[in-house]
Subunit: 360 residues, 2 copies
């Protein structure tokens, strides 16, 4: 088992990464409280892993209550969140209760926001079971739900007390979701570590093939890169924005297609291809490096061809992005592979980029 | 104009108290941002004060958008909160937008929670227009909404960037709401300052009569007492619990009657009478001091006679209180007038207290 630490002063927490951690009752002993433990999970993950987690908690004398949600991004809504609150209240959950978020990013985001808001804040532990959530969403304290008018518009910065990553849960992940997680892994290399990007390129086949030691490497590296960024800028007033590389275009694609049509990671893969093109248009990235990045994305079975829409549709979905300020969008571009920066860009250049990328 | 400060490190903020502050465009200049200003108010307060606030903001070049909610505790729900989010999104509110909560405690709690959750947190200014919100709810950062199974169960600790109290707004307050606000004023004296309690006793008639200089005194004193407590214990792990004096019984009464039947302050007035009786039963408070406190509450036209219910109904509503831990309720009792403490109490003694108080 490897242990990393997210350094956030009195909100610091450990990330445990290893195999079969779900059965490690000793590890869970530190989360035994005077109150009850709530497993928040979904109908897909529950039959796979909830019994093992429950056994580890019960071995520590915990009363365990399950709250099982429907599976999918389309359920990342207030209504589903309300079922968590109702479950907590019906079981008389008090301020000392702990929520264990067992599942992917949607579960982590919703259970985290529920923990942030229930009685104005109770403890929660992230137990991400998808690659996307292990390398990205479980670390950093972003929680929330979607609003009919925008993705992740309602939420909180709320840190878990720990992240427990059992790598073997990746073995039950559909290929498409594995690829979606690898999109964020590529992003970490692209914005912060060109050597890691080289490594991903060399080990793409093993990654596509669920090689656990390769997956461990990308999870550890991703958590390291992301924690370092979050420790510098918890609430995204500066460098944390780099983590949004590919996301402005990606969110537009996700929203425009309707939530759930494309997986988040797929939209981000495609968004990175467009953002790389924008970096070329701005004169930063070489054509060769852009093509290399796009090739890596493709090798991991991710789309790089954006849906074709009207210019106005793209711009309108992009302007709803949370990163927009006074209608002005801040783009994350690459100065070179492994080095990102924030930049305002004229609409004209964005439009010509979308044209070159074949999106309009 | 008097200025107090709530000392919370990098979340510190000023409280401005004076007359006609709504028209003080100079005061509002510090809240002019690069983005839009949103006035969140209700259908009762809007026609009274929104124009003046809007003028002061516009004088500083702000674009102003109003979000007008239905009035009343029964609307302190997710559905109403959602209309705030929809209003913000439809006007393309970005992360630099500021919410101005213009109204009583319900508006402040909902607008504050909306500010805490919109894009994971935007700025907000409290402009409380009721006595209850001026002396209590606008200070300290508790925000939230009700859940069908419990009051204030969903929310956040989220501090405003300022509280602006225009005392003259109290002149349009119905007598019943004035009295409800005075309940929290009495509470501040009872838990923290017996000399202030003496002063309230001596000036009860003037307070009942909307005397602005007397009202200024109780607002300033209350904000001082509450800010000092909040500065010591922002998230209620210790001394902040003292502010809940009268609230465990009060919440049970409020919930049992159905939200909105009794005003919050009325339930707290009655709850303080029961909590004082409990303090007597525990051997702390003299019978004389208890009777004096009850007399003060009555002089301010607040109920001190609790509704009569089954024991089980009282205990069940009380056990849903947020202050309960593992089913054990922590009571706030008075060691003497001006001095509170937290105490666990056996159900037997609670039941005999409810009997003596005529509640069961």
């Amino acid at each position: 088992m490897k242990t990393l630490n997210v350094n956030l002063g009195d909100r610091s927490y450990p990330i445990f990464i290893g195999q079969d951690l779900l059965d490690d009752a000793q590890l869970f002993s530190q989360f035994a409280t005077s109150s009850a433990s709530f497993i928040v999970t979904n109908t897909t993950v529950e039959p796979l892993y909830a019994d093992r987690l429950e056994a580890s908690l019960k071995a520590n004398g915990q009363q365990v209550i399950r709250i099982v949600l429907p599976d999918g991004e389309s359920f990342k809504t207030w209504e589903t969140l309300q079922t968590i609150f109702t479950g907590l209240l019906e079981s008389n959950a008090d301020r000392k209760a702990t929520i264990f978020a067992l599942g992917g990013g949607v579960i982590g985001d919703m259970a985290g926001f529920a923990a942030a808001s229930y009685m104005r804040g109770i403890k929660f532990v992230q137990i991400p079971t998808t690659l996307l959530s292990q390398v990205d969403s479980s670390v950093g304290g972003k929680t929330g739900i979607n609003h009919p008018l925008g993705k992740n518009m309602i939420g909180a910065f709320y840190q878990p007390i720990a992240v427990i990553i059992d790598l073997k849960t990746l073995l039950t992940l559909p290929k498409r979701e594995l690829a979606a997680g690898l999109a964020e892994v590529v992003k970490h290399g692209a914005i912060a570590d060109h050597l890691f990007l080289d490594w991903i390129e060399s080990n793409a086949a093993a990654l596509n093939n669920y090689d656990l030691s390769c997956l461990e490497h990308v999870v550890v590296k991703s958590c390291e890169i992301k924690s370092a960024v979050v420790a510098q800028d918890e609430k995204e007033s500066g460098v944390r924005a780099h983590l949004n590389f590919g996301h402005t275009f990606g969110h537009a694609i996700e929203t425009g297609m309707g939530y759930g049509e494309w997986l988040h990671g797929e939209a981000v893969g495609c968004g990175m291809a467009i953002a790389a093109e924008l970096s070329v248009q701005l004169g930063y990235l070489s054509l060769e490096d852009k093509n290399r990045l796009i090739r890596i994305i493709q090798t991991l079975h991710l789309p790089t061809k954006a849906p074709q829409w009207d210019t106005s549709k793209y711009l309108s979905y992009m302007s709803h992005d949370k990163k927009a300020e006074s209608g002005q969008i801040k783009y994350i571009v690459l100065e070179e592979l492994g080095q990102a920066k924030v930049q305002k860009v004229d609409d004209d250049l964005v439009i010509s980029t979308l044209k070159v990328a074949g999106a309009i």
